[in-house]
């Protein structure tokens, strides 16, 4: 009887361990927080830190983007929440936006986060209802960042200095 229990338990543990290894190879987490967050997200138990998210949102609205990103990172350490990742991407967009030229490094980081947000959103569709931002759609933000990274003849148009940050 004991042998049978050990064998059954061993089989279950081996299947769970093998599934965990496959998950690790697919998701490539970088920190323990990402591992635990990813696992809890896969069973629908992942929650962000609401207080840190509110702090991040307040800093974002006050145009303190570095501080906002720090708070958002704290709110979503496992990088599993699409909305928080969207705001981090948006903060990179605003940090990198310039009247004469954009900061490519910030735009690239922003693009990574927006891609992550799109990947996390159900069906890849993410809408953020926030009256304080001009871009509510992750696809639109992605297009804005991609366009900012592209070098084209329109970049030389002097009228560009009159464009508005979104």
């Amino acid at each position: 009887m004991r042998d049978r229990s050990v064998r059954a338990l061993g089989l279950v543990v081996a299947i769970c361990y093998a599934s965990f290894i496959v998950w690790l190879y697919v998701r490539q987490p970088q920190t323990i927080a990402e591992v635990t967050g990813g696992l809890s997200a896969s069973v629908g138990a992942y929650r962000i830190d609401q207080q840190a998210f509110s702090d991040g949102l307040a800093a974002f609205r006050g145009e303190q983007y570095e501080a906002a990103r720090a708070a958002f990172e704290r709110a979503d350490p496992a990088e599993q929440d699409a909305r928080t990742q969207f705001y981090i991407g948006y903060s990179y967009y605003r940090s990198g936006w310039g009247r004469f030229y954009n900061d490519d490094a910030h735009f690239k980081l922003g693009l990574d986060r927006v891609d992550k947000a799109i990947g996390l959103a159900p069906g890849g569709r993410l809408l953020v209802e926030d009256p304080d931002i001009a871009i509510h759609n992750a696809d639109e933000l992605r297009a804005e960042l991609t366009a900012g990274l592209r070098t084209e003849a329109a970049d030389l148009n002097p009228m560009r200095v009159f464009r508005r940050r979104k």
Binding site: D3, V6, A8, G10, V13, A14, Y17, L24
Partner: protein, 215 residues
């Protein structure tokens, strides 16, 4: 070995050990941690290695799965067989350099070596010894010799000699520098793999007893 101990080895220790090897086989520590899936050729080499293990009686599939065992026991046996194959594949993923000329040479060398072993009729002990030598040599070449060649640090003379070597080999020799931790993890993984192979249940010996009729 008692029935219960054999059951624990088959159901718990061996699958977990080989799965750990499969997990660590793709681990690369550079400025970030990455888990690299095996290249296609590692699957081919893994299959050949699996063949060598069966032919050399290191792995006896009939001991792990047969009609006289219960369904649960056969499932445990299947888990061991699959985990052994995964670990064999990941061992090549670990031992083979990432790119360039060493990648090609290691692949060809290991392919020929495994084919040669497969063509012979080695016994269990010979196969285990031979694998220890192959695995140890590959580890030394990749994590000590090639790592030293690819190390960007060092004095001016070393950098000059390396630049010369790189020029001669058209830059195909040096590899992406890995963190020292990768080497230590690789060593532990290879030791685990060899220990797992040694723990696999040996084949049953069939013997015939000759008894005189009057005794």
């Amino acid at each position: 070995m008692s029935r219960e101990r054999r059951g624990a080895t088959e159901a718990v220790y061996l699958p977990l050990l080989f799965l750990t090897v499969a997990l660590l086989g793709g681990l690369r520590v550079t400025d970030r941690v990455a888990l690299v899936p095996p290249p296609l050729f590692a699957l081919v080499l893994g299959m050949l290695m699996f063949g060598v293990l069966v032919r050399g009686r290191v792995l006896a599939p009939e001991r792990l799965m047969n009609a006289s065992r219960s369904a649960l026991e056969n499932l445990n046996g299947l888990a061991v067989i699959l985990a052994t194959f995964c670990a064999s594949t990941q061992i090549f993923n670990l031992m083979i350099p990432e790119s360039g000329l060493p990648f090609l040479l290691f692949n060809v060398f290991l392919f020929v070596l495994l084919l040669n072993t497969l063509a012979g009729a080695p016994d269990r002990l010979s196969v285990l010894r031979s694998l220890a030598v192959v695995v140890g040599s590959a580890f030394t070449l990749k994590f000590i010799v090639l790592a030293a060649i690819s190390d960007p640090g060092g004095g001016a003379l070393k950098r000059m000699l390396l630049a010369l070597l790189d020029g001669i080999t058209l830059g195909t020799l040096s590899q992406t520098p890995l963190h020292a931790a990768t080497g230590y993890v690789a060593f532990a993984t290879l030791v685990l793999f060899l220990a797992g192979l040694a723990m696999l249940p040996p084949p049953l010996r069939h013997s015939v007893a000759l008894i005189k009729s009057d005794q």
